[in-house]
Symmetry: none
Subunit: 367 residues, 2 copies
């Protein structure tokens, strides 16, 4: 029964479609635990009083659309609570969510995320390289937006392609502040009159980093505030499945047209750098079994400790016995030790890391 329900659920999950309607209703109609990642760019609750003018009196095209007006924090909180709860139900156990916002709404969103039991992994700042200046000189240039990245629950798994992100950043660990330009130029979608099709279109570079970093190829990515479909466009190019939800028909049309033109990157291009952890585990005992090391042979540590290899793949040094890791840790008085990189053996008079032997076995395994 359970299995049947699940099968049916998966079968009816509408992939790579833009669903019409209110995102809360639509999410509640989708099967639970069916989505790997949610990226959400909810309305910002901008409370603009009157129009804003540039120094030359040209009017700024402010975000004042009807869908962005809420009469109070209370109404906004109720809305936030409802869509976040619906989103949590949809997430698989190892799923995660990203929400982007500004100071107008992000504090309320973040507090509600925590209250609902989502577990914040990072807040990430999108630092805009070309923001709109503060024309009146009354505040700081509003030059960033904030994203919150959270797993479904405390302690739950999540996808994080650490090595791929490190490569994207040319060998240095990716930080929580991302410097990326705003969406303009050819990427910015226009309507029939040549005006911008959506007031807050996000750059594809932002979604590229989010999806490369926190999804794998084939994952299902849901965007409940789809707009003109940046999430869908990048997901398609990267070989992820998407589900979009959008209330406004005009946006749905623009998004559908946009995504239809996107070409998938080829498979080897989508493949990213993988972690060492993904390589097959080789027990140290295999080196002994295969004769790469002989029982009785002595290993040396960087600081001159000696240990004898035993037939069962353990080491013995003075009065310490155990695995290569345990013996290394005890000799160093350290909380842990990677025995593979710690111990050396002698070949032709030279010290060689035992990790070389592990590499050798792994190479044989992959043949």
């Amino acid at each position: 029964m359970t299995i049947k329900t699940k099968e049916k659920a998966v079968a009816t999950l509408p992939l790579n479609e833009i669903l019409a309607g209110d995102c809360i209703d639509v999410m509640n109609a989708l099967p639970e635990a069916s989505v790997d990642l949610i990226f959400a760019d909810p309305p910002y609750n901008l409370q603009l009083k009157g129009d804003l003018h540039r120094p030359n009196n040209s009017k700024v095209d402010a975000v004042d659309n009807a869908w962005d007006q809420f009469d109070s924090f209370k109404a906004y909180d109720a809305f936030t609570k409802a869509w976040l709860a619906a989103a949590k139900r949809l997430l698989k156990p190892g799923g995660a969510i990203w929400v982007i916002g500004s100071y107008h709404n992000i504090f309320r969103v973040g507090a509600e995320l925590q209250t609902q039991g989502y577990w914040i992994l990072n807040d990430v700042v999108w630092r805009k390289s070309n923001p709109m200046p503060n024309f009146r000189g009354k505040r700081f240039t509003n030059a960033h937006e904030t994203m919150i990245w959270a797993s479904k629950d405390e302690g739950s798994k999540y996808t994080f392609n650490y090595e791929a992100l490190k490569e994207l950043n040319e060998g240095i660990q990716m930080r929580s502040d991302w410097v990326l330009p705003i969406c303009n130029g050819g990427e910015r979608l226009k309507d029939d009159k040549g005006d911008k099709a959506h007031p807050t279109q996000k750059p594809e570079s932002l979604l590229h980093r989010v999806l490369v970093g926190s999804t794998n190829a084939g994952d299902v990515v849901l965007d409940p505030f789809f707009g003109t479909g940046t999430t869908g466009a990048v997901a398609k190019a990267l070989g992820r499945e998407f589900i979009g939800i959008e209330r406004e028909e005009a946006y749905r049309k623009v998004a559908a047209k946009r995504i239809s033109r996107v070409r998938k990157f080829d498979k080897t291009a989508i493949a990213v750098t993988t972690p060492k952890r993904a390589e097959p585990r080789v027990p140290f005992g295999q080196l002994v079994e295969r004769g790469l090391l002989r029982p009785g042979e002595m290993l040396t540590s960087p600081r001159g400790h000696l240990a004898k290899v035993r037939a069962d793949g353990t080491l013995i040094a003075d009065d310490v016995k155990g695995s290569i890791h345990k013996v290394g840790a005890e000799l160093e008085g350290a909380p842990s030790c990677n025995g593979w990189t710690y111990w050396n053996f002698k070949r032709d008079g030279k010290n060689v890391s035992i990790d070389v032997l592990r590499q050798q076995i792994r190479a044989e395994m992959s043949e």
Copy 2:
């Protein structure tokens, strides 16, 4: 009567002192509407579980102080609500508040600020130039903290020294993201044993920018979580009056000694040395993220080698994978290789160096 009360209040306002006690009690005992600016660095409620070790096995000195321990979000929220209410009462009508925090607490603080009727003017991101890395490679480097700047009420006046901040920023409007180093070196206060006197001492550069931007000489600045007195030290140097509140005697002692040694800047000395800007580092991955190169696109070397661009900004050529530099070096059998000048892409049938694209990004960044 009202006037007399006010006069008495001002007369008894303890200036340039560090008051002992719980900040909520102490604030409630101070006269209302008597303070121009509040800078607050409340406990972050970090909720750290076990120990964390660096890859070299040394233990990270975590913030495990009793003052950062709360039983639940509910308890933290009650604390936040109480101190923010006490702070609001103290602010003059034209006063403002700054609160600094991390993702652990800042969303709850920001939401409560809004709920109490404070009016958020900006959120400002302190981007740390030298943050502690993420040692286990499980998340993004936590490389920033968030500050919220809010006036006492919607529509109320506030101080903003636009021109002074513009000068601080080499003639360009100050943005909402500030790149500043963490507090270490000679500025970091030590106790008798040579350990850090306070686990979370803030850099004076941060307070300098806050006080120059949002107070005038002679203004009263209150810091309810005074710690080792960075706010007081910078306020004194800039000719502002300060009031500090601190519960821990050890911190009060260190702060008092520190501030006693501070000399006021003379007016001409406040001219600030601007740090020289190095050419920004552009990771190759940004060309991919920003669509200047497509995953799957082929690059060529001077000697005709081909390599395919991957989604994470690495290249793949035959069986060689890695950064533009590494792949170039391996193909040439060289110890190193500058991939930026080595690789070319095709545009309009002609070979163009990828370094042209880096120049393009640098030009955008400096705009």
